[in-house]
């Protein structure tokens, strides 16, 4: 049988080899972690993902019923509340996760891309949440959008990204930005799995053998 690792000649084969070469199954879904991975700070990464799952789930329900549903339905209002609080927790967990990674200097050992994708996740999340606030179709949306337009207009962004255009904000919020955020989140998690969890600062060579 021909080994695909050595002899892949198709684009598909090369793509497969590249992906599974970087992320073999036991690296993608390991059953062990280095012994130093023993702190509550490590929980906040997965907690962020869990909160994101509830953000997406409640957002999908709101999407199914339409943007005005939650004003007139008690069920809709509750789903909107779930959406709000999952977003609040999502940011809380993500900020703790980010600070934790900063104090761990988690970009060491060729992990700069992991930090950068994480930072971009945070920025994309801020943008996604912002579009959610301006498409609430209530007083908050009126006030926030008319205030925010000045900042965006002052640097030319408002000419292309019009926060007063409900349709544009709606599509940014439920389609474009979630796609971007979802894609970067997956990339970020794959980078974490590829490079592993960064070892303690000043860990020494002789200490790496058990």
């Amino acid at each position: 049988m021909t080994s695909h690792v050595e002899h892949a000649s198709t684009w598909t084969g090369r793509l497969r080899d590249r992906f599974f070469g970087a992320l073999p199954p036991d690296k993608l879904l390991p059953e062990e972690q280095p012994a130093y991975v023993a702190s509550w700070i490590y929980v906040f990464g997965v907690a962020t993902i869990a909160a994101l799952a509830f953000v997406i789930g409640s957002g999908l329900v709101l999407t199914l019923e339409g943007p005005l549903w939650y004003h007139s339905s008690s069920v809709g209002h509750y789903v909107n509340s779930v959406h709000l609080w999952s977003v609040e927790l999502f940011f809380l967990f993500m900020v703790v996760h980010l600070w934790g990674k900063f104090w761990m200097a988690a970009w060491r050992g060729r992990r700069a891309a992991t930090w950068i994708t994480g930072a971009i996740c945070f920025l994309a999340s801020v943008g996604t949440a912002f579009t959610g606030y301006v498409m609430q179709t209530n007083f908050d949306a009126q006030w926030i959008s008319t205030q925010a337009k000045d900042g965006l207009n002052s640097v030319g962004i408002g000419a292309w990204f019009n926060v007063l255009d409900l349709g544009q904000m709606l599509l940014f919020h439920v389609a474009l930005l979630p796609l971007v955020l979802g894609g970067i989140t997956v990339w970020h998690v794959l980078l974490v799995r590829k490079h592993g969890v960064v070892p303690p600062i000043d860990a020494r060579e002789e200490e790496t053998t058990s």
Partner: protein
Amino acid sequence: MSTDLASRPWTGANREYDLAKELVVALLVVGALVIGLAFAFGSPDEPSITLQTWAKAAPADFVSTAAAELAGTSGTATYGPPYNSAADGQTIGPLNLQKLGGVRIPVDTAQAFVVGPLHRQVGTAEVTAALSAWDAASADQQASWAGAYSDAIAAEPDGDYTKVATGDYGPAPALSAGLLAAAQAGGLDGALGAQGQFFSTDYTYPLLFLADGAYLEDQARAQHLGGDQWGMMNETGNYPGQSWLWLYTFWYQIEPFSSSDNADAWVWGLMMVLTLGFVLVPFIPGVRSIPRWIPVHRLIWRDYYRNHPRKT
């Protein structure tokens, strides 16, 4: 070397770590938190202000705003890009990004907010005559009429448009009163938003018109949402709002930004630089060394450091 060690696969001691179990537990705990918080605290949903609400609650503010839109002196009419070329917009030193963005959302306030919507209404004979007079006049004449009327309203205590001194205002009073009547009857909300189209998802015109008046801001300030009250990062009621925007909102509270005519541009410029710095932390000398200087990592990895004490 520690840098090389961080680059290589870990060959030291390992421990069992069940990622799938961790995720499931996280989903259960976070789910319980979310469901509980949503049940306990709900979410804010203050109804939007309609143009009808505004026209009924603050007719003087509504009429003075309509007159300013006709005169070309309102906030939107004098805004600059992306709405018009009446001003250059804000600058960061010699850099004018607002102008570079261009006039991509053109707004003629007199036509878009007053004359156009009135043309699409079945108006009174007085309004119809006023529209004819307005349309037949030159731009200079229109500005002269509306400017004089707008100034006369501003000169009255509380902007009482019903008591303005006699003057050469042309059709401006009838147009403003006609718009007020249409709004109070509930006919302006649809007319201003749809702009003659069947479908509309763009609320640029009604929101700009609403924001040109004082009523919206008065309501927002009553809810502690003013620009100097940490503005848009908050929301109505006692909810956390967009607390992650604290740093952006913070700059507006302090000098020199709080009194600058170019505050938005400067704050955005500053935040862009800080954001770039945040993304590029791993490459910024000094900043990337802070975790070594302030050893919070000794707390995070306290078990590891206890089991691997430094050799002196």
